[in-house]
Structures are given as structure tokens and as C-alpha cells.
Amino acid sequence: MTSVLRPHAEDQFADELVILAKTDDRPRPPGWRLSPWAVTTYVLGDGGQITPKYIGPRRIVEVAVATLATDRALLLLGVPGTAKTWLSEHLAAAISGDSTLLVQGTAGTAEEAVRYGWNYARLLSEGPSHGALTPSPIMRAMAEGRLARVEELTRMPSDVQDALITVLSEKTLPIPELGEEVQAAKGFNVIATANDRDRGVNDLSSALRRRFNTVVLPVPATTEEEVGIVARRVAQLGRSLELPETVTGLEEIRRVVTVFRELRAGVTSDGRTKVKSPSGTLSTAEAISVVTNGIVLAAHFGDGVLRPADVAGGILGAVVQDPVSDRVVWQEYLETVVRDRDDWRDFYRACRDAG
């Protein structure tokens, strides 16, 4: 096992990429390592040697791949924890064989991260020159004809976002200091991710928005699907974090997922009772972290079996984000829904004890 905490997608699944590249005889767009069809297979899996990376509607992946093949930029939108970054990493790995050309959008992201910067020591000694130039990931992607990734696009200040407009429409990045420009090689494109909930923080200008095709990643459609995702990721995380072995019943995962889904949808799974939704997102990613957290608790402080008490605290923390209104929502849910379920007795008690 490698000592890296989290290997890149193209390293972790290198063998799968090789298999696909070998069997892939369909036409590949210029600069692509695989054909669009093979990229789709890589992401969704084929039920055999290729494991599924993204579990969700096929059409989402197809639209995303088709978008990248039309040289339009791709914007993945969704509430936190809907695998936006995950999907963008795997798309980049499959198409360019490289998911590392990454710009992380933050409130402090500067224009240098999108265009280029300077090595000031050399700039002072040599003046503007190629050697003094520090290219941004976007610039490198353009020169090499690869995919660049922009994470959390809407967290960037608007002026930095706008630096992308020329890149995306003209496919060129001028360097006035050298009197040159970098023209994008075939195969260059941008995958950006943005958070639905943050709309309005630094909302995209319509000029920039026009250059993206937007794909909204949904929350998992059915309980079974979500239980599958959570179970799979919890197992993966457990392996890579080398957590002690615990007995993780699917029952407990299903319960966490059910609670999250019911609160998120505002209606119980049997469709009989309406419940209020709390302010938190209650994404699949949060369900995964609640279960992982519970496993750690069970392994180090419990008897090695994941029990309701181990997840109750985590659920409470995920649901109650606003101390006043969310607590009311949670209490209402606990008393009107959880309490009446016969096989949820332990869980009800654990939640009551947790607060």
C-alpha cells in the first residue's frame, strides 16, 4: 500500500484506464486519451473489470462527456456532497490522463492562479522572459491540450472569474509582457464545479455563464442507491484510513440514509407524513462521514459493532445546524416519525440521549 493518503484517480485506477484504452476502437476527439464512449464506461463502470466511479443517472455523465467533446466548458453544479469534485477528477483522469491541473477557488484566489505569475527574483534579474514566467494550471493545460479543473468557481472573486472569459471564448491567453500568447492545443477544456447553495456569493456573470454548459448533479434517487454509495465509500475510506475492523451492519447505514433522505425530501419514505426540512444540506457525503465517524467511535470506544448510539451524535450534529429552528425540526421528526417505528426503538432512545 502506498504511503499517500489519497492517490490521484489516474494512479488509483491506472489499470482500468489501460484496459479501456486497449479495447477502445471508437473515434477519439483530438487530444483525448479515450473515446467519449469509453470515458462514459470508465465513469459508470461496465459491471466487470471497470468499477463504477460515479453512481447516478447515466444521462448526467453522457451530457458531461458530450459537452467536453463539443469544446464547451463544463460546469458541474449541485448541493455540497453530490460528488461534483469526484466526477470532475475522474473525467479529467479519463480524458487527459491527468487530474492535477487544478485551480482551487477561494475568496483569496488571485488572477495569477488563472493566468500566470512571475518568479520575482528572475524577473528582477532578467526582466520579463520565459524563464521568469510561472504558468498557471490553466496555462499549462492550454499548452499541453489537457483538461483544467476549477474547483468552487463561485467562491472566486468576480474579477478572477472573468479572466476565464478570454480563455474559454478565444482559447488563447495573451502575455503582453512578452508580446506573445499561448494558444490552446486541441484537447484543452475546463471543468468547473460550483455549489448550489452558494449562489449569489460571487455569481457568475452572464458572459461567463454563457460559456459553460451546466449539469446539475442530483442527490441519489432511491434509498437503495444511496445506501450502496454510502456503504461503498465507507468501506473504501476505512481501508485507506486503516481503521480497525468493525462489524458494520447495512441496517445501521440504511437507517442513517433513511433519516437523511426523509428530512431532505420533507416526507417520510412511505409518503404518508410530511416533515419539515432542516437548514443543512444532509448530503450523501455527510451521511458517509456520519457513518465513518460512528465506526471510529465503535472501534475505539465501543465493542466493535456499529450501534445506534455511535451514529446518533453524528446525525444530530449534521441535522441541527441552526440551534433554534433545526432543533425544533429534529424534535418534531423524532417524536412523530422515529418514535412510531417499532424496529427503531434503540435508535430513538439513542437520539433522545444524544440531545
Binding site: W37, E62, A66, R72, L75, F212, N213, T214, V216, K274
Partner: protein, 790 residues
Amino acid sequence: MPAEIAAGASSGPGAPVPEVPVPGSSVPPGSSVPRLSVLGVRHHGPGSARAVRDELNRIRPDLVLVEGPPEADGLVALAADPGMRPPVALLAYVPGEPSRAAFWPFAEFSPEWQAIAYAARAGVEARFCDLPAAHGLALDADPVRRDPIGELARAAGYDDPERWWEDLVEHRGEAGTLDVVAEAMRAVREGHVAEGVEARREAYMRRTLRKAAREGFARIAVVCGAWHLPALSPPALSLPTLSLPALSPPGGRARGSGLPAGSGPDAPDGPRRLPSPAEDDRLLRGLPKVRIEMTWVPWTHGRLAAGAGYGAGVAAPGWYEHLFTAPDRPVERWLARAAAILREEDLPVSSAHVIEAVRLAEGLAALRGRPLAGLSEVTEAVRAVLCGGDELPVELVQRRMVVGERLGRVPDATPMVPLRRDLRDEQRRLRMKPEAMSGEHDLDLRRPLDLGRSRLLHRLALLDVPWGTPRRARSKGTFKESWSLEWRPELDVALVEAAVWGITVEAAATARVRNLAGGAGLPELSALVERCLLAHLPDALPYVLGRIEDRAALDGEVRHLMGALPALVRARRYGDVRGTEGLAGVTESMLARICAGLSPALTGLDEDAARQMAALMDGVHTAAGLMGSGRWLATLTGISGRDDLPGLLDGRIVRILFDAEALGDDVAARMARSMSPGNPPARSAAWMEGFLSGGGLLLVHDPRLLATVDAWLTGLSPEAFVDVLPLLRRTFGAFPAPERRMIGGRVRSGAAPRPGSPGGDEGADYDDGLAAGAVRTVRDILGRGTGGRP
């Protein structure tokens, strides 16, 4: 089998469908052998429709047979009427039995409609060849819907049959597809033996064919579901050419079966034998029958999409219509139209968007290996490019374009729709004549006849057929209603439009209420409950109540609940019909929600908002009184302890509690506190306004109250008095003049006692002993029991 092959049955473009002699027909000697073309289609498939149109123009039949009830043969001619505009439906119904009815919808892009339209254009006869609706409705058997398309699609590796059919047929629309479909259907039906209703339908179709052949038609075209095709025509061998002489009957009675002697079941590789006329007759003998009537009714794309009890419903009528009517470039035209619709809603969509959307749709189609972008690709493009991933505008496009809002029309000459017939029956039963002159009617709801009339008028109002208008606002719960009735010609049109909702007035009104309730907010829903009760629609009520329950659970705005409650409570009091039990539960839970949320809702209100809230509180108070719930007063008592309420509401709450004798502390103390100089004068005046609003009479009759007010007023300093005078005037100005005069008289006469000596001078004249009996009776009537003050 060579006798069956017509000369022109080559597989070249434009000449796809082999013509064969009518099976089992006996032709009068000397006349020519009639030619039969069976066009197997998918119901409501635009590609099929186009293929049928082209094919009919090519073979020019002199008789068109269409799958549908033959009772409608007399109605076919109406299809050519300029007033007829699809989508329309043929309706068969059993008079007097609203639940027994069947619809055959037709849209512009239905192959059947195109066949009928061809017949009208070419001046040839069109007939329907399916089992008569009289039998169909009598058999009352749910027709078993087969899914031959689904079987074929699965065989082709598609999980979605619609898409497979679209890829193969609808998107190509080339000549020759009908032929391919026919061949495929034969393969699917291999070994299938029709049974039950299906066998009878096909037997009837064959019988109609034979009859048409006997009548001497030369070229007959049949347009039917692809599934039935093999049952109507024996398979064609793919021999390209065959000389005509081979068509002469092999001799003897062979012509009677339409099949050569050698092709019985025992023939080694022979095709499946078609049943003989005698076998068909045996199948069709002794079928049950009911008396039915038929007419055309207008239809909508929405109902076409929903299926609405019709098995072959289509998911996207708007898209199909587009495919059928767009001359070329369907994807580009569709996306440009979508952009236009989004622009109407002020969404910024440029031509560049449309270009990118087209590219994405095509890229996606290529990725999925489809010949042309279909609805799902186009929808993805609309979502990802035109709408920026936002679902709301996508739904708009879905509603306006994919389903479409088209409403069909039928000409005036159409036979009466059953709804109108039902209305006529009702009018007869209730002895009401539709007259153009307006007339006034007073209804006494205690009489069954008048009650029926009232219900009918309310139901018609729900159907947007306003025959009667209520003459003045009636107070609820009374037994008198007053209407003015006027039958205007528009109402006939409105009635035809309302026919989509149902066959009887009651069923239609019920369906309409459910439709209205679908998108309504709380206030509309509670108004709807009242209308349901007035119109006596017990079947619609539970649905509406369910919707209210859902809405109330999610609505965080207490004011909405407060606005909705009074109407519900009035309705509950008004009706003793079925469904009122559910109503009680709903009102109780709504009141509970109001009580829980009232206190926070009273914070931070400006003057207008406070005034609205006061009106709402009055409404809820009356309602709570009718419900006999103590929860409301308890809540108000709790709130009355707060000192941050707007003056108006504070005064109002104190007054409500004072009237209900539920005020915890002394009203004089409350008033003095609220009126004391520590408060700004405006708040004091607002408090007084709230306290006194709506009832000057109490001031006249409750000397204690009058004295309290009087003491406060006379105790004001001259400056403060001038300050509050305009506000007081506003309060007192709202009282009716006689009340003001009486209050003035009371004050002038000095009758008002000082606070602290309740009862006043009036008490002196009473003999409590004498009055006791009357007081007790009055209290019983008021429902206050016998305790408390005498």
C-alpha cells in the same frame, strides 16, 4: 402462396406496402379483385402518420378503413368541417350510465387522423373497422394492451421502447418503414393466438374488410395498430415480381377463403392461416350489446399525455406534433422555439445559446449512437445550455412545448356532448329551463328540489359555466339563496369545453375541483372546500382536504393559515354532508398550528400589517368560537402578557378576552396602563382603536366599560387630549351614527357610574327572582351553561 402477391410489391423506395386481395372475400363475378393495403402504425406516432399520409397519396384507395368504433361512421364527415381542429376524441357512452364510456383520441399527428383527413380531401369514404363500441362497452373487458413494440425494442437491445421506435421509425419517416414494421410484427406474432376480446376485434376487422370487398371497392386501405396487421393480411413473400395472371383464383371455393388450397396449417413452411368467414362469424355470434351513443369531444394535449384511461397515451404530444409539422431541421426549430419561450419569460437566451444547444444535442446523440437527436437529447440541451441547469425553466418548456397546451375544437354540428345531455336531464328533473332572458330565483334550501337546483348551479359555476350568478352576498348557513339565471350562447361553448372533465355534471365538477386543487395555495383551497360543499361533491372533498393538510404542514406563514381557517369552519358548520368528519380534523390541526405560530407572528408589524393581523384574528376568533375550542383563548391569554405588541393588537386581544370573560387581570388596570403617559400617544390611540373596533354597542350596554373609557378620557391633560383627539375620532367615526348617539346620550345623562360600582343604576329596576327563568333560558340558548354572573 403466389396468388397473394401483387405486381407492384417491390422493395424500392416509395413502393413499400404490398397489396394483396382481401382475405376471405367473395367477389361478385365479373368485377375486379379488390386490392388491400394494410398499414400497420403506432398510435399517435408522427413518423407513422407521415408514412401513412404519403402511402395513401400514392396508392389512392377508394375506401379507407380506420381502427375505431364503426358506430362513428356517421360522424366521420364532421372531421372535414373547418370547425374541427384536433386534438379531438370520439366518445362512446351508455346513456344514463356515466361510468361506462370510452374515448378514442386523435391528434394532428395520429396516423388514424391523417387517414381520415386523406379521405375527406380525396372525397372517398372512410369507415371504422374495430369491434363496435356497443359490444366493447357491454363486454366491459379491459382490453389487454400488448406491447409488441416493447418486445421488439428489447430484442434490439433498447431499454426504452419509445426511443427504439423513434430511432427506427419516427425519426426517419422514410418510405419503406411501414413495410419493415409489418415484417417485424409478423415475427413478433409468430405463434401467437389471439383470444378473447382481441380475437373478436380482429374477427370484426376481417368481416368489415370482406363486406367492403363485396360492396365493390377496388382499392382498400386499412390503418390499424401494427399489432393487428398480421391478423388482417397474410404475409407477403418477398418475391420482387409476379405476373398478374397468377392472381386468378385457383378454383372452386378457394376464393372464399382467400387462401390457396395448399396453405393450410399442414403446409410445411406455410404462413399462419387466416380464419375463415365462418370462423369469424362464430366468434362474433351472440356478443352482448348495450345501447350507446357517440360524438366528438374536444381533447387536450395534456389529456393525450396523461393517457387518461387510454392505453396508447403518448408522453410528449407537443414534441410529436412538432416532428410531424416541422418541414425540416426539427432539432434546430425546436430549440429556437424553446429559446423564444424562455425569452418571453425574460430569461436571457441568445442565438449563441441555441447554436451551442444544437451542438450538444447532436454530440449527445452521437455519443448514444442515435441517428438523430431525440426528445431526451434535446431536453438535456435545453437544461444544460439554455437554462443553465435550472429546473424551473426546464419545466416551463416541458409544459408549454413537450406536452403543449393545445385545446381541440369540434364544430357546432357535432351531436350533443354527454355533459350537455346530462345537464338537460338535470334541468328537466329540477324543472329549470335554460332561458336567454335573465330571471330571478329564490331558493329555499330546505326543499329538496331547490337544494338540487342550488347544487347544480354551484357545480356549473365550478365548470366555468356561469349560468346563475348569486344575486347578493349570502350569509352562510342560511337556508335562502338568491340567483339570477341567464343562459347565454357562450355557455354552450363553455359546456363543450367542459366536456373534457367528464360525462355528467357531477363527475365533471369533481374532476375539475381536483384539477383546481392541484396548484392552489391555502386560501384558494379553503375557498374550494366551501364550493365543494355548496356543490355537494363528496368525492372531491377528501382530496381537497388532503391537499390542505399538506399545505398547512409546510406553510410557515401563520397569516395564510389564519386566512384559510374561517372559510373552513364556516364550511364545517354549513354542511352535514359526508366528508365533514375529515374537515373537523383539518380545522382542529390548523387551529393548533395557528396557536403555535401566532406569538412570533405578532412581532415587528407596522400599522398596516397590524391592521391586517387584527382582521385575521377577528376571523379566527369567530371561527374558534364556532369550533368551541378553548385553545385559542388560552393562546391569546398567553400572548396578552407580552408588552411588545403593537397597540392595535394589544387592544384587540384585551377586548376579545374581555368579551369572553377570560381576561386574567382587571380590564381597567390594563386600559389605564396602556393609556398612561408612559406610552406614546399614537400607541395609546391605536390600542383604543383595537379595543373598541367593531362594536360601539358594547359601550352602550356595558356601563362598566363605558365608565372605564370615560374615566380615562376625562383624566387626560388638555395637551394629551388634543393629541389623541384625531385618533379617537377615527375609532368612534367607524361606529354607526345611532350607536354614537346612544353613547353620547349615555355620557351626557351622567348615567355612567364611576369605576368601582359595577351594575350601575339599571340594576336597581330588576327583580332577579322574576328574571331568573328567562336568564337561564337565554343562557342555555347561548350555550353558556348556568354558572357565572346572572
